[in-house]
């Protein structure tokens, strides 16, 4: 996708007026939040597991180079291949090369945000290879030429009648009388169509939730089973994963698995957690003949040792966006970046630079609900604030904001001048409030008064009144 984060404000305003989208976004609040809470409440050790999951990833990040080397050794020992990609472009080239060597015409894909990050589908298409998304949500948005609006529920911005329309447009074999009004009918239709694609595909591409150093294993966590069919039925399985997906051992994987699905969908475990190690063995009746892992850096190594390192603990559960009031209001596409919501507001500037993406870490009320539910205890608001600091240092903060805040600071740092200014200002504002004691509009305060009244101040300031009362007390001999 084309990065459009700088248009966030305009896209958000448009999203707020989109009735279809607003209806669909209601499902985020209705669905995810209560289910997560229920799953967390049912496990007394949930918070202890979160602490431990955080500690495991911190340990990994402090030893990332060593674990990557160990992981690579074990992949190779199991007969797999490891490819290192410094940039998105490198990763695209490597995947294309693997596909071309396999004479691939179509590839199936399991749901993977990392292949969105490297814009793999466009690259394959441009080179004559057809990518087929097999996750139901991904399949739907591929039909629509869109990109995911949520990292675990890519089509959460759509309603079922929109999906029905797309199926009727693309699945031209459908008889007119076929009832597609319910999700279950839509799912059956997709299942039927995609079954054929799995068998026809030459290469299956998946992401990975974890890469286990101890065993050279990649892990995918899914509910539909599409990822498994993708990686089992193709002649070649390609795993594309970023370097921070490493975990040391099977035990460490179990720790994080216990918080992953609960945080994401509120399940104790997702339906399929699949551990893949190398290609088909000599006596295996099924499985891919080749197994490749593409390890992607794409800016992550530069986050290590910085105030953004904690972001590399992220396990892509989506809990932060599920609980974000801004995401609830505008949906994922408004962010104009591959990763939406709070985790995207921190990660996107790291991957794409703050120059084009400054809107994202600013578009937060700092309500802190994202951090409160993050299974990896990532301090998301703190890191968004750090991005605002980088912006401010480099004079990237919008001028009105910058001058406004410097003016405020000028007075705030000079209490006497501040007292003088407010002793004139507040009574005037109070008078303007009149009998209703509120202002319907006010010059330079359009951001406030466009949507709400401005409560008028009471008049004199608290410190003025307090000083007067204290003086009276002194005078009356207290």
């Amino acid at each position: 996708m084309q990065l459009a984060a700088k248009h966030f404000k305009a896209s958000a305003s448009k999203a707020l007026l989109d009735a279809q989208l607003q209806k669909a976004l209601g499902n985020v609040e209705k669905g995810f939040i209560g289910k997560r809470q229920k799953a967390a409440d049912a496990l007394p050790e949930f918070d202890a597991l979160r602490d431990n999951a955080r500690d495991i990833k911190n340990h990994v990040l402090a030893h990332l180079d060593l674990y990557l080397e160990e992981y690579e050794r074990n992949v190779v020992a199991a007969g797999g291949h490891v490819h290192w990609a410094e940039t998105a472009e490198d990763a695209r080239r490597i995947v294309l090369d693997i596909c071309q060597k396999a004479n691939a015409r179509t590839v199936t894909k399991g749901k993977s945000m990392i292949t969105e990050e490297i814009a793999l589908n466009d690259h394959l298409t441009a080179n004559g290879i057809e990518p087929v998304e097999t996750d139901l949500g991904e399949y739907i948005i591929q039909l629509r030429g869109e990109y995911p609006s949520h990292i675990i529920a890519p089509a959460v911005h759509l309603n079922k009648d929109q999906v029905e329309g797309d199926f009727r447009r693309v699945h031209t074999h459908l008889p007119e009388g076929r009832d597609l009004s319910e999700p279950v009918a839509l799912l059956s239709e997709a299942r039927e169509v995609l079954r054929k694609r799995y068998f026809a595909a030459d290469v299956g591409i998946t992401g990975a939730n974890f890469l286990i150093a101890e065993t050279g294993t990649s892990v995918i966590v899914t509910n539909e089973g599409n990822g498994d069919l993708t990686q089992t039925l193709g002649k070649v399985h390609v795993v594309v994963a970023s370097i921070e997906k490493i975990v040391p051992t099977l035990e460490d994987t179990a720790q994080i698995l216990r918080v992953l699905a609960r945080s994401a969908t509120g399940q104790d475990m997702s339906v399929y957690t699949t551990f893949s190690t190398g290609p088909k063995r000599p006596d295996d009746p099924d499985g891919p003949g080749e197994y490749h892992v593409v390890l992607l850096d794409n800016g992550r190594s530069a986050m290590l040792g910085t105030e953004y390192q904690d972001m590399l603990r992220c396990i892509r559960c989506g809990a932060c966006m599920n609980h974000c009031p801004v995401y609830h209001a505008v949906g994922g596409h408004a962010y104009g970046s591959v990763y939406p919501g709070p985790m995207g507001a921190v990660l996107t500037p790291s991957l794409n630079g703050i120059e084009e993406t400054g809107q994202l870490p600013n578009a937060s009320t700092f309500c802190g609900r994202c951090e409160a539910v993050c299974p990896m205890r990532i301090p998301l608001p703190k890191m968004m604030r750090h991005w605002r600091e980088r912006e401010f240092e480099r004079n990237l903060t919008p001028l009105t904001s910058r001058y406004g805040i410097r003016a405020w600071a000028f007075f705030a740092k000079r209490p006497r001048l501040y007292r003088l200014a407010v002793s004139f200002g507040m009574p005037v504002l109070s008078l303007l409030g009149g009998k209703s004691r509120r202002l319907h509009s006010l010059p330079f305060a359009g951001g406030w008064t466009r949507h709400r009244d401005l409560p008028a101040p009471e008049g004199r300031t608290f410190l003025q009144e307090w000083a007067q009362r204290e003086a009276l007390k002194q005078g009356s001999g207290h």
Partner: protein, 223 residues
């Protein structure tokens, strides 16, 4: 420079590591050697019978059906009964698991067994699980000729046989079993942890069973 050297070099530069780096290497070696367990939920810290009960209850909660039989010889009858109850033809896809060799197939004359990997044309498949995890009602299935992975995903109905004594409390106990069977650091090509039948919530967050994998999961626990 290769991509490998570039990426590893950038990581080390960001972390400002250089030299022999013995301390970090030792930390990594010890974690890989000792594989420390972290927090294990008390939920499944039960005697064997309690774990078995919890497994069945959790599996049912996540949408599987569970039957218990007393002996391997009763498995075939249970499979036949399941197929009949679901109006399915008397045919199954099955691997070469020796534990299922003598599962009473001879008593079910009408039942047709197709061996090997699934080709997508099977309505029902039968596998034998390595273990069950009581904590979440999860099955652990290993790839190989005994239990081809395709049987776990292609048939509409997946019937999984599980030995009662292979029901463990938690994932960590299954890792221990795996290491004992295969050796430390050695994994089968695929280990599938399966918790309930396939599902999707991608359309309006409505959960529907039977996405790309099996629509139904039936577990047969053998005493």
């Amino acid at each position: 420079m290769s991509g490998r050297d570039t990426v590893l070099g950038k990581i080390r530069a960001s972390m400002r590591v250089s030299g022999p780096d013995a301390e970090r290497k030792a930390a990594v070696a010890s974690r890989l050697r000792d594989t420390p367990t972290g927090v294990i939920p008390a939920r499944a810290d039960l005697p064997a019978a309690g774990q078995q009960e919890l497994f069945c209850a959790m599996a049912a909660q996540f949408g599987a059906s569970v039957a218990r039989v007393n002996d391997y010889r009763e498995v075939a009858a249970e499979v036949s009964a399941y197929l009949r109850a679901h109006n399915l033809p008397a045919e199954i896809r099955i691997g070469a698991d020796p534990r299922l060799k003598d599962a009473g197939w001879d008593l079910e004359k009408n039942l047709e067994l197709r061996h090997g990997a699934s080709d997508g044309g099977d309505l029902a498949g039968v596998s034998h699980a390595m273990a069950g995890i009581a904590e979440t009602g999860t099955l652990a299935l290993l790839s190989g000729p005994d239990n081809p992975t395709t049987i776990n995903f292609l048939p509409e109905h997946h019937i999984v046989v599980l030995r009662e004594s292979d029901i463990k409390g938690d994932m960590e106990s299954v890792w221990a079993m795996l290491r004992e069977q295969k050796g430390k650091g050695v994994m089968p090509r695929a280990l599938n942890l399966v918790t309930g039948p396939s599902r999707s919530g991608d359309i309006e967050q409505t959960i529907i069973l039977g996405a790309h994998g099996p629509r139904a999961l039936h577990i047969v626990v053998v005493a």
